[in-house]
Chain length 397, copies 2
């Protein structure tokens, strides 16, 4: 039996495909520090769980396709706290940021259309592209330049009549890069001059360090009809398992079109929406505290990497990821080797090989993405294991 080309062409998630190897290592008694996936250890606010207990209906009925009124109101007030003016009617609740991304792509692209994405990028962008028959065209950026966008003229060269939008995450996954105002202006101008949408994945909005100036694409009033904001409670509130995200835009027609997709899948889970709506009660201090914790973790990881011979990485200013070039021939092989053959006192560490974050063949082969989502003591141990692992690894450059 044959399968479709689009599904056989899909790569396995580089974040998840090595999980069976890690599971096998654990079965053999090894402890694995998981820096391979953005699953934070931060506590989910208790108001989420408390709200679930309030559910007192006898029938677990469908919710509204656009999301429950309470959750839409909650998202709207969250945005207002950032000076972003989204009414509840400008927002649709989705099954995580994932569905929001897929719906945004489908709304603006037909089969064979193109979306530009700064590379390296969140690997599932490619997967959604496959599903939707959209070509994800990379705008290559470099670790040595802090993953900044290339000059406008460079990007213009790859725009053609099939290009419908620019998709970017800010702060960036997997880079941790935060775009400057000047960089965002380039994207704004490109969108205006070439009639493009901007799909802005801003799920890491809370995690920007070093007083680095930040601006949301929702704050560019002159292009509000071109901007689609993708959001999620996953990272913000350490609630990845809730799978609650959103798509927001001042373009009313766009929201009306995407609502049809929402109706097609009926609704997002009723109970998870109840918990998510309660998160509006979480005080700003929660974010401050979490941000400070992530900053300290970033410093631990970054400083440790600076001490490792042959490792190249720039200081990232946002999210909770760090990309590093390792002195190995093939980072995926190294990650597997760390799981299968290396340990310090029965402990090892797991990363995401970065090749899957690139669309251009050959790029990222010697890079890894680290998610600093563990406590500081664990991170210190993990960095020590990485250092000793690199020293012991036979297949170096």
């Amino acid at each position: 039996m044959k399968f479709s080309g689009r599904i056989t062409d899909m790569q396995q998630s580089p974040i998840r495909k090595l999980v069976p190897i890690a599971e096998a290592a654990k079965k053999r008694g090894k402890k694995v520090y998981h820096l391979n996936i953005g699953q934070p250890d931060v506590k989910t606010p208790e108001v989420f769980f408390d709200a679930l207990k309030d559910f007192d209906k006898e029938v677990l009925a469908y919710s509204f396709s656009q999301g429950s009124p309470e959750l839409l109101e909650s998202f709207s007030s969250y945005y207002k706290s950032y000076g972003i003016d989204f009414d509840p009617s400008d927002i649709l609740v989705t099954n995580g940021g994932s569905e929001a991304l897929l719906f945004a792509m489908i709304a603006i692209c037909d089969n064979g259309d193109e979306v530009l994405v700064p590379e390296p990028f969140y690997t599932n962008y490619n997967g959604f592209g496959n599903v939707a028959g959209i070509n994800v065209v990379p705008i290559t950026t470099e670790a040595e330049k802090g993953f900044a966008l290339p000059p406008k003229e460079e990007i213009e060269k790859i725009i053609n009549p099939k290009t419908k939008g620019i998709l970017l995450s800010n702060p960036g996954n997997p880079t941790g890069a935060v775009y400057s105002k000047e960089q965002l202006n380039i994207v704004r101008d490109l969108a205006k001059e070439n009639d493009l949408y901007i799909i802005a994945d801003e799920v890491y909005r809370e995690y920007i360090f070093d007083d680095f100036p930040y601006m949301s694409f929702a704050q560019f009033d002159d292009i509000s009809d071109r901007v689609i904001i993708i959001d999620s409670i996953s990272k913000r509130y350490s609630a990845c398992g809730a799978r609650i995200g959103s798509i927001a835009s001042k373009n009313k027609d766009l929201i009306a079109q995407v609502l049809k997709l929402c109706q097609g899948r009926l609704c997002v889970p009723t109970i998870e929406q109840l918990g998510a709506a309660a998160l509006a009660k979480v005080p700003k201090e929660y974010f401050e505290k979490t941000k400070e914790e992530y900053k300290q973790r970033r410093d631990i990881v970054y400083e440790a990497l600076q001490e490792m011979p042959g490792v190249v990485c720039e200081l990232p200013h946002g999210a909770f990821y760090i990309m590093a070039k390792l002195p190995v021939k093939n980072a995926e092989k190294f990650v597997v080797w760390m799981l299968e053959e290396f340990d310090i006192d029965g402990e090892t560490v797991m990363f995401a090989p970065a090749e899957g974050f690139y669309a251009t063949p050959g790029l990222g082969v010697d890079e890894i993405r680290m998610a600093y989502v563990l406590n500081q003591e664990s991170l210190k141990k993990a960095m020590n294991i990485l250092k000793l692992g690199l020293e012991a690894y036979p297949d170096k450059k």
Copy 2:
């Protein structure tokens, strides 16, 4: 700003698009009996809610992309109770039956490929087709023949190299029809002779009346590599708001391919899976009781319809829907009129106009789908309102 052709071409859900008109009627103080949507009033088993209370983790983390081991085990044992042999590894948990359908289509079809579907069909099949760039090609069936499939030769005529599968719901939504063994054999033979997949949407498996013989496509051993079973807890356990479904197949390669799609959206909500896994504890008597209740409701609706002059409908043997041809020129206009201009003592009733369930233009214009999901007293009142509404309606045939 332009949108993609595939999204602008999408019709609004015929089940949901009239909701604002119903809401407006309610705001004016009218009571509306909702027979327009398959949202049962049956109580969700308490074990679902009890299981949620057992969640004792501090972090709401991602679940496995394929679904939690407990839920996969629970689904496997559910199938075994029907004599269907699906291991946990043959099953993937999805965001409702909706996502299972979309994933199945994507796995077997590239853009422009075709899937045959007996018409009238669950309207969202069309929506998923739009999203995935797949042509849903109707096999027209008729109310007067109990929506039975046409002869094999008729169906063969519309099969071409782009045809990749046959999708059908059994028992049928919106028809309530249950396919006989002979009918299923036709589909089996067509699949074998033309190298097609069978996507079998069996979410109403529990609701088959009158001792009508039933067989799941999963019980055809000679085509097990061609069969993809779509399932959902929504109707079975009156848990529509949980959005927990599944895709199951003995074709291991297919499951491996679809797992990549599952990885792309990371996972299904963690907490809803917890509740769903507990449903394995629900005794068979729950289904027996619910089935008997639906049967009585069907009888009330069917008998009432028989008494209405000019109404045509056949006795359906499954699910909880009934299709009826009304003596009106346009059923959608009639549904709107019932909401906006008609009431009996401040009460009216709402149906789904059936035109949206057909792909062939012009069909179903004078038909409605009724979901008998309300208690018997309410149904009797609703049928009386329909009868009087039809008498009073000015735009009759």
